[in-house]
Amino acid sequence: MSNETKKLNGFTRLYRGLTTINFVGRRKTWFTISTAIIVAGLFSLGVRGFNLGIDFKGGNSWEVLAPHASIAQMTQAVEKAGLSQPTIEKLGSSTFQVTADLNNLSQSAQTQETNKVVEAMAKVAGVNATQVSTSSVGPTWGGSVTNRALEALIVFFIAVVLYISARFEPKMALAAFVAMLHDLLVTIGVYSLFGFQLTPDTVIAILTILGYSLYDTVVVFDRVRDNTGSVLKSGDMTYGDMVNLSMNQTLARSINTSLVAILPVLSILIVGAYILGATTLQNYGLALTVGLFSGAYSSIFIASPLLVVLKERESRFKELKVRLESRGQRDVLTPASAALLSGEGAQRAVKISGGEASDAVIQARARKQKRR
């Protein structure tokens, strides 16, 4: 059986609960990767800052559906209408977006110029002037939206830390908080590095991602809590190995959920934004895609390993680790074997080959699990 297990590919092993990936042991690698990404992002932020959309820096934009017009035609028309240095983009297959800043004009002059550009664009597109969408944003608007979002973010962080502390434990709250901070920093960094445009939609999307990342983390921690009450009590596993087992147990779920979450978001980005050309969807899709990958990564590679670092400083888990290590033998359980151990009638020694540590023969001291 041992040989047969070896031959199985990763997916089948995942499907059958035979994975023993050492997430916790290689935590230094994960922490280094994340730190590198975050430092690079923050460096870029310090040097280049953000590519802010008009909602943040103020400005004006116009949009019209013009399937048969060219960028050159549109540029010529709006410049003739009096726009200096406009940005003209074609979104999707037929939406034209013109951006410029009229905030140094007086209010009535702004209205006049806006209407002139509307007429010019409608003429190029061959439609009625009511078919042109306009947007004008004063220079202070974005700031107030961001402030409210930051307020929401801080309250959310506090509420989450309180909730997890109460429902699970403070150290889990801290680990989950760091994972969320990680996602926030990674997303911000990626936006600065790649020069993606930051809009209020991006801010919404980032808030969602934090919720999602946390949701992911909570599912893993829920399992850790379960195992703390059962597997850990046997005294045969260090806290780290127990968390690692929990992660392997929830791995299939983590991967499935992340995939299921990312599929619709990719659909927003590709179908909604690039094929059909809806700007708002593009803003959401991009931030959600970046954030979901980061969120899926952080709940596996940051939150749980960090929890182990925090918990193994507690003397009882430190002692447990020292004791088990002095015995020179560590249990590496696959989710499937852990399930067998916990099952009724599992009070027998099981010989299990576990993935990477497949040469180790494990004498599991199984006891009947007490369920609360």
Binding site: S106, R148, E151, A152, A261, L263, L281, Y284
Partner: protein
């Protein structure tokens, strides 16, 4: 240890009821022809956020809201909303065809001023000079619209009931541009155009009265069928107006709103001597129905207690909105299809449970959103909301995944499928509650704190999270448990094992 999470009978009932409610309510909304109340980014329309120019009291801002609401309603725009968000006033009018026309009426945010007309001026072609009001030249005495120069005489033979001299415009102002709104100070003289006739301009003196003296103004047809504006003054306004009118007897008084002269009537031209207005008056002239109505609205509602500065203005064309809706729904459906495909590939028979569950959830959500569209409570369904729903597909499916992975664990432990479905559900339920609570927490906080689109997003995310909890308990639990119990009895085609032949070593 309780062996079951419910009796067979209650579970069959809950399953049937859930499906009936979900698809029944969808059928009902479709039959009623109800649809969601679309946000303006999907339906087209107008949205403006105003900020008070100076610090002002909450009561003043509430008055601003009332005045703007009246203005919007006065234009006959349906479904428009004006409300306070923090210190800002948000005006939104979804579904409006010509959004910029509405914007212009609502955007008349300056105060209404009553100013004496000094003289008429010309408007030359070519380059104009911007002039600060303090350096505006004065009118030549022969062009001044004084009582003597105008020579208003009562004449019952004339159509209007009076005659007056035709005054020629003062050519001195030909090259001077009209006063910019930033210089429109009630204390100083201004040079402004007449509404609807940009080449007729008047030099006006400092304001003698503001719109706050007007209590009410209505556009009406007089006995001859001509449109007039009848107005009523407030108590203190009545006295003030009598003073202003007496000082300007047989002269022109301009009613100015936002740098445009709405009307410049002659005071009591059909009377030989001044008589008190007694708190009411009438403006007649060559009004059309719409110009009379606009003047009435401007007179009654023009007086805002504070000047407003637009922070952000958006007008969205209905066609662009429609294309965004198609994009959003298209993306949602493709996403849903991909997720369903994945669920069936990975979980096989159990995947169909997800399929049916997602279908029922979607039906129920659409029904609820459509029904909420008929209340004032729910935020309108906008692109942010669509995104919220699309994101929630992941959260909904996750509940199934958590449960099914637990099921696998239980069967790996060597338990029968029959026991596994019960045990698995109980541990999965706790996880689902804990995780959904976090999602709800995020949604509620966002809804309470954030502004604008964020609220719509939070609302629909929260709604679908609640739906997930509901469906997990009333749909997934009974269906999977019933299937599990059945598979214990027979090898039916829908045997749970189809999705669960995953017990690691035990199937070798």
């Amino acid at each position: 240890m309780a062996a079951h999470v419910g009796t067979k009978k209650t579970m069959v009932v809950s399953l049937i009821l859930t499906l009936l409610i979900a698809f029944g309510s969808l059928g009902a909304t479709l039959a009623l022809g109800w649809g969601p109340k679309l946000g303006l980014d999907l339906d087209g329309g107008l949205s403006v956020v105003y900020k008070p120019a100076t610090k002002t009291s909450q009561a003043n801002m509430q008055e601003v809201v009332n005045i703007l609401t009246n203005r919007v309603n006065g234009l006959g725009v349906s479904g428009a909303q004006v409300n306070l968000q923090g210190k800002n006033v948000v005006v939104s009018a979804p579904g409006v065809k010509d959004a910029r026309a509405v914007l212009q009426a609502v955007g008349q945010t300056a105060q209404l001023y009553f100013r004496p007309v000094l003289c008429e001026t010309t408007l030359d072609k070519g380059k104009l000079y911007n002039v600060n009001p303090t350096t505006l030249p004065t009118c030549d005495s022969k062009y001044l619209m004084t009582q003597a120069n105008l020579g208003v005489t009562v004449n019952s033979q004339a159509v209007a009931g009076f005659t007056m001299n035709t005054m020629s415009p003062d050519p001195k102002f030909g090259k001077v541009a009209s006063t910019l709104p930033v210089y429109d100070d009630p204390q100083s003289r201004v040079l402004l155009p007449l509404l609807g006739a940009p080449t007729s301009r008047y030099l006006l003196g400092p304001a003698q009265m503001t719109g706050q003296s007007i209590a009410k103004a209505v556009a009406q047809e007089d006995t001859a069928g001509a449109w007039v504006v009848n107005y009523t003054l407030t108590g203190s306004g009545s006295k003030l107006w009598d003073q202003v009118a007496q000082a300007n007897f047989h002269q022109l008084v301009a009613i100015e709103l936002d740098g445009v002269i709405q009307s410049a009537p002659v005071i009591q031209p059909t009377q030989a001597t001044f008589t008190s207005f007694g708190g009411t008056g009438q403006i007649s002239g060559s009004f059309t129905e719409s110009s009379a109505k606009n003047l009435a609205i401007a007179m009654q509602f023009g007086a805002l207690p504070v000047r407003l500065i637009p922070l952000t203005t958006q007008t969205i064309s209905p066609t662009l909105g429609h294309s965004a809706l198609v994009a959003g729904l298209g993306a949602g459906l493709v996403g849903l299809a991909l997720v369903m495909l994945y669920a069936i590939l990975y979980y096989r028979a159990l995947g169909f449970v997800i399929l049916l569950g997602l279908g029922a959830t979607a039906a129920l959500l659409w029904a609820i959103i459509s029904a909420l569209g008929h209340t004032a409570f729910a935020p309108s369904f906008n692109l942010a909301g669509v995104t919220g729903l699309i994101v929630s597909i992941g959260i909904t499916v996750d509940s199934y995944i958590v449960y099914f992975e637990r099921l696998k664990d239980e069967t790996r432990a060597g338990r029968s499928i029959r026991t596994s479905v019960d045990r698995g559900f109980r541990s999965a339920w706790r996880t689902v509650l804990a995780a959904d609570f976090v999602s709800l927490l995020a949604a509620v906080l966002l809804y309470l704190i954030a502004v604008g689109d964020v609220r719509g997003f939070a609302f629909f995310l929260g709604l679908s999270t609640l739906m997930d909890i509901f469906m997990t308990w009333y749909f997934t639990r009974p269906l999977v448990v019933l299937l599990g119990r059945r598979s214990g009895q027979s090898n039916s085609a829908l045997s749970m094992a189809a999705g669960l032949n995953s017990g690691g070593s035990d199937n070798e």
